[in-house]
């Protein structure tokens, strides 16, 4: 192979800085146990700034709503409440959390499947409700009338956008959510019937796709839907384009290309396996030809986050004179709402685990057992391939390779000095692999070292954490830099009272 198979994380401050403070990280894990999650609240405010800058570049007003489901951290939400951003909540608990963190109802959008309690609190407090369809609209209107509430501001969630008759059919992934645009007329009839109880502030959608083309098509469709609302005499203000702007996880695009090529060759059998049991991440070989689809997050994404939004707004809308979507939003006097989750908590946290044991199998694979379960850092579940950062117990420096010679994985593919290991979890289950692939570390880890999984705040932190087999669930702490040194407190203790992060008022 030409070159090493490391997948180094892309690191920016403050994440990059905290990883250079091993004593601080070890102290935290010594005190609070492994696994441990750290969130970096100041970074979420910086990320909001990047999205705001894109709004500014297109002269667009509107709001950036953080998709809360990406991380349940109190510190991140409280820090966000201190900015001018909004929040998108998808459960009763998230709504209570947002209200309690200081978000006023005008900065909250309630989306997703709603139970009666969630709907009640949303209507009672007057947050904007993204409604899935006619049924939800009727239920909401009944609630408003029965309890004599003020009319509820609603966004009509749409789906199933298709290109205007042009001979090109763009297929989109099927969505469980929203009302098909082909049924828009019926939905608008319902809005008219309930105009005493609901006020349509606009339309919304969310497409679970990395494709700009699909997203551009949906936004174009949303502009037409807004016009349909206007034709009925409503004065809608906002188009909510959802999220899915992505994160760039890796430092080096060439490394990603090299790795995926090696994976392809491993699946085809033309190089030794890179994965536990020859797992192919969705790829398989049939008669020498590669079949299936790579089920991985595109970990290196040059266009992600705010830059992705910028590119989306620059896309032309063929059915609207070919003018850019951002220009069309502006010209039509619409506000732009977005709901980034992963992208807004980019670089906002990390997950730490203690190395418990390092051993080699009979086949020569090296296993590193960590004091955490695969559910504590769901990188594999979300298809994000990114190497952990080794945080040595005794500070950096070359370590004697005590069992050199039985390193079957490390000797191949990692390049000079790289040591391939499989990371396993603490559950008594064959499937509890933290990585189904060999990760190549600069030296073999030793018991007592920490492995830091960087940039996990978006969906990969404690999204799936359970108390299976009565294993401990990670504590979460908020950390920030003050006067050149790192400070921390428990996540639930954090309030954004800078500069001292909640310790004094």
């Amino acid at each position: 192979m030409n070159g090493a198979l490391q997948l180094e994380p892309h690191l920016e401050p403050p994440l990059a800085t905290v990883l250079r403070a091993p004593a601080f990280l070890h102290t935290l894990v010594d005190a609070l146990g492994s696994p441990l999650n750290i969130v970096l609240p100041d970074r979420i405010a910086a990320n909001v700034g990047r999205f705001r800058a894109v709004h500014g570049r297109h002269s667009l007003a509107g709001q950036v709503y953080f998709a809360h489901k990406a991380n349940r951290s109190r510190a991140l939400v409280r820090r966000l409440a201190a900015t001018d951003a909004g929040i998108d909540v998808a459960s009763l608990g998230e709504l209570q959390h947002a209200l309690g963190a200081g978000f006023t109802p005008d900065r909250i959008v309630a989306t997703g499947p709603k139970d009666p309690q969630f709907r009640w609190l949303a209507a009672r407090t007057g947050v904007t409700v993204s409604v899935d369809g006619e049924g939800e609209l009727a239920g909401l209107a009944a609630l408003v009338r029965r309890h004599g509430l003020a009319p509820v501001r609603v966004l009509l969630r749409l789906s199933g956008f298709e290109a205007a008759a042009s001979g090109i059919r763009v297929r989109s992934r099927q969505s469980r959510f929203g009302t098909s645009v082909t049924l828009l007329d019926g939905l608008l009839d319902a809005v008219e019937r309930h105009r005493d109880a609901v006020e349509p502030v606009g339309v919304g959608h969310h497409l679970d796709t990395t494709s700009l083309d699909e997203k551009a098509l949906a936004l174009e469709g949303a502009l037409h839907a807004m016009d349909a609302l206007r034709r009925r005499g409503f004065r809608p203000r906002a188009v909510d384009i959802g999220g899915g702007f992505g994160v760039n996880y890796l430092a080096d695009g060439a490394a990603w290309d090299r790795y995926t090529t090696a994976l392809t060759h491993a699946v085809l059998g033309s190089r030794p396996p890179l994965t536990w049991g020859g797992h192919g991440y969705g790829l398989r070989a049939e008669g020498g030809t590669l079949r299936g689809a790579l089920g991985l997050y595109p970990a290196h994404r040059p266009l992600a986050g705010a830059a992705y939004l910028d590119a989306l707004l620059a896309r032309p809308a063929p059915s609207l004179g070919g003018r850019p979507l951002g220009t069309l939003l502006l010209e039509n006097l619409y506000d732009l709402y977005s709901e980034p989750g992963r992208a807004l908590v980019d670089q906002c946290g990390l997950s730490l685990a203690r190395v418990l044991e390092v051993r080699s199998t009979a086949a020569g694979d090296r296993l590193v057992r960590l004091a955490m379960t695969a559910d504590d850092v769901s990188l594999e579940e979300h298809g994000v391939l990114m190497d952990p950062v080794l945080v040595p117990r005794d500070g950096p420096g070359p370590a004697a390779d005590d069992d050199a010679g039985c390193d079957g994985t490390g000797s191949d593919g990692g390049g000079p000095g790289a040591h391939g290991v499989y990371l396993t979890g603490s559950l008594c289950l064959e499937s509890d692999l933290i990585t189904r692939r060999a990760v190549f570390l600069p030296r073999p880890p030793r018991p007592g070292d920490l492995l830091a999984f960087a940039n996990t705040a978006g969906y990969c932190m404690d999204f799936s954490a359970t108390r299976a087999q009565a294993q401990p669930v990670a504590h979460k702490v908020a950390a920030w830099e003050e006067d050149g040194s790192w400070r921390w407190c428990l996540d639930e203790q954090y309030w954004p009272l800078t500069p001292s992060g909640g310790l004094t008022a």
């Binding site: 002269s59 007003a61 042009s166 001979g167 090109i168 059919r169 763009v170 297929r171 989109s172 992934r173 679970d208 796709t209 990395t210 494709s211 083309d213 699909e214 502009l223 016009d227 206007r230 034709r231 999220g243 899915g244 992505g246 695009g253 060439a254 290309d257 995926t260 090529t261 392809t264 085809l268 969705g282 020498g288 030809t289 590669l290 079949r291 299936g292 689809a293 089920g295 991985l296 997050y297 595109p298 609207l320 004179g321 003018r323 220009t327 069309l328 502006l330 010209e331 039509n332 006097l333 992963r342 594999e380 579940e381 979300h382 298809g383 969906y459």
Partner: protein
């Protein structure tokens, strides 16, 4: 030359020598096989016709739709062939990235279906890839189709084994070239030609070119993608090398500007890859050529023509399509000119409109204008207005003008330009239509 059908004109393409002064190889003659001169414009004409022909009578009888996974030249050729036989053609693609090809296909009567992109929030248990869905639909009863299956169909390779390859040998006076260089797309042309050449002379060296992974050259697969091609067999190639899009464009420019070959980026990639591969061999063969007294020859394929790729060029090398600066352009305004322009807020604008009836020009797009606008205003979208002004003042100097755009940024620039052009009373609406709305001033929908 007289033919009964245009399909009879497929093949027998010229082999043209590249001037050594251009490529700089001293002991190797480099030839271009001009597949771009096939009647529908590309090397794919051969494969498309060879794959479709056997199934056509039956397809016509059943009223079947010809279906192919293609975002380019195969779709183009099949669309024409389908049209000639009164059949519909549907091209299914993983995103067509070259807009001109898309438009051309629509013009040819094709139906285009684009497959969905990747999920942003990955569900690893979701194993259904878009291609599986495509194949399931093909076999669904009641929708007759003729799937030409270019990535797996041996008739693709056979078209070149029987046509392209033997033509090259014939044009080289019965000899196979020493090197054959081709970009790998479906692998049909490279595999077929290699088969014919090797049968004639096993010593032929075959160079396969793929795109660099993070890059995109239309019609070429990347190092990983070639493994998804059923026709691809690594043993066909003595070496596989990657070409960057930038190099492909450089190669294309050389062919166009210095060789008179109006090749597209794929041809450019083949030329660049050929010269890059041959240059060190040329230096070595100084002695070899002397030994057996024979010059060496190399052949590369020029797949298609440049015209369809102007958008691709514009995106990557806009300077190649540069235009001279236009007269009366907002781009030439100085900050001082813009600062000196009269802007008025909504309150004053309403008074002025009531008192002097200025012409109110709304510079937004027609869609936005139709939805809501200032009563009595006219709509000239900015890009059209821009063009109008290049010709001179479009209205009388005695007619006062109020310009409006969404936030007042564009209108102030055009007001400054009109002022420079000699208009005595043109004003810009401060804060634009948004400020107008926010001030509670009326907007109408006619």
């Amino acid at each position: 030359m007289r033919y009964d059908s245009i399909t009879d004109a497929i093949g027998d393409t010229p082999l043209v020598r590249i001037d050594p002064a251009v490529h700089g190889l001293r002991h190797i003659d480099l030839y271009a096989k001009l597949e771009m001169l096939n009647p529908f414009g590309s090397v794919k004409d051969r494969a498309a016709w060879n794959m479709a022909r056997p199934g056509l009578p039956d397809a016509v009888r059943r009223g079947a739709t010809i279906v192919e996974l293609s975002s380019g030249n195969t779709a183009k050729a099949l669309a024409v062939i389908a049209g000639m036989h009164g059949l519909p053609f549907k091209s299914v693609t993983n995103r067509m990235r070259v807009p001109e090809i898309k438009e051309l296909l629509l013009l040819l009567g094709a139906e285009i279906e684009e497959l969905p992109g990747r999920s942003e929030c990955l569900d690893p248990t979701d194993t259904e890839d878009p291609l599986t869905l495509f194949h399931q639909e093909l076999t669904r009863p009641g929708r007759p189709s003729l799937h030409t299956d270019q990535y797996f169909n041996d008739l693709n390779t056979a078209a070149h084994a029987a046509g392209t390859g033997p033509e090259i040998i014939a044009d080289l006076d019965g000899r196979a070239p020493d090197w054959f260089v081709a970009c790998v797309g479906t692998a049909g042309s490279s595999t077929g030609v290699a088969r014919a050449l090797r049968a004639h002379d096993p010593a032929v060296r075959v160079v396969g070119l793929v795109g660099e992974k993070s890059d995109f050259i239309p019609g070429i697969r990347t190092l990983d993608e070639v493994h998804e091609v059923g026709l691809f067999d690594p043993a066909t190639y003595d070496t596989i090398e990657a070409v960057a899009a930038d190099d492909a464009l450089d190669g294309m420019l050389t062919l166009i500007r210095r060789c008179g070959l109006l090749a597209g980026p794929t041809g450019g990639a083949a030329y660049h890859g050929a010269v890059r591969h041959l240059r060190p061999l040329d230096a070595e063969s100084a002695g070899a050529a002397g030994a057996d007294g024979r010059r060496r020859t190399a052949v590369f394929i020029v797949c298609d023509r440049v015209e369809s790729y102007l958008g691709y060029v514009r995106e990557r090398r806009p300077e190649l399509l540069g235009r001279p600066p236009a007269r009366n352009s907002v781009a030439t305004l100085t900050d001082a000119e813009i600062r000196a322009t009269t802007v008025i807020d909504t309150t004053d604008a309403r008074k002025w409109i009531a008192a002097e009836r200025p012409l109110v020009v709304d510079l937004r797009g027609p869609f936005a204008y139709a939805a809501l606008h200032i009563d009595g205003s006219i709509n000239i979208v900015d890009e059209l207005f821009d063009e109008l002004l290049r010709g001179g003042l479009p209205f009388s100097k005695r007619q006062p003008v109020l310009l409006a755009c969404p936030v007042g940024e564009k209108s102030v620039r055009y007001a400054a330009l009109l002022t420079r052009m000699g208009h005595p009373d043109v004003r810009s609406l401060a804060g634009g239509i948004i400020a107008w709305r926010d001030a509670g001033a009326p907007l109408v929908r006619d």
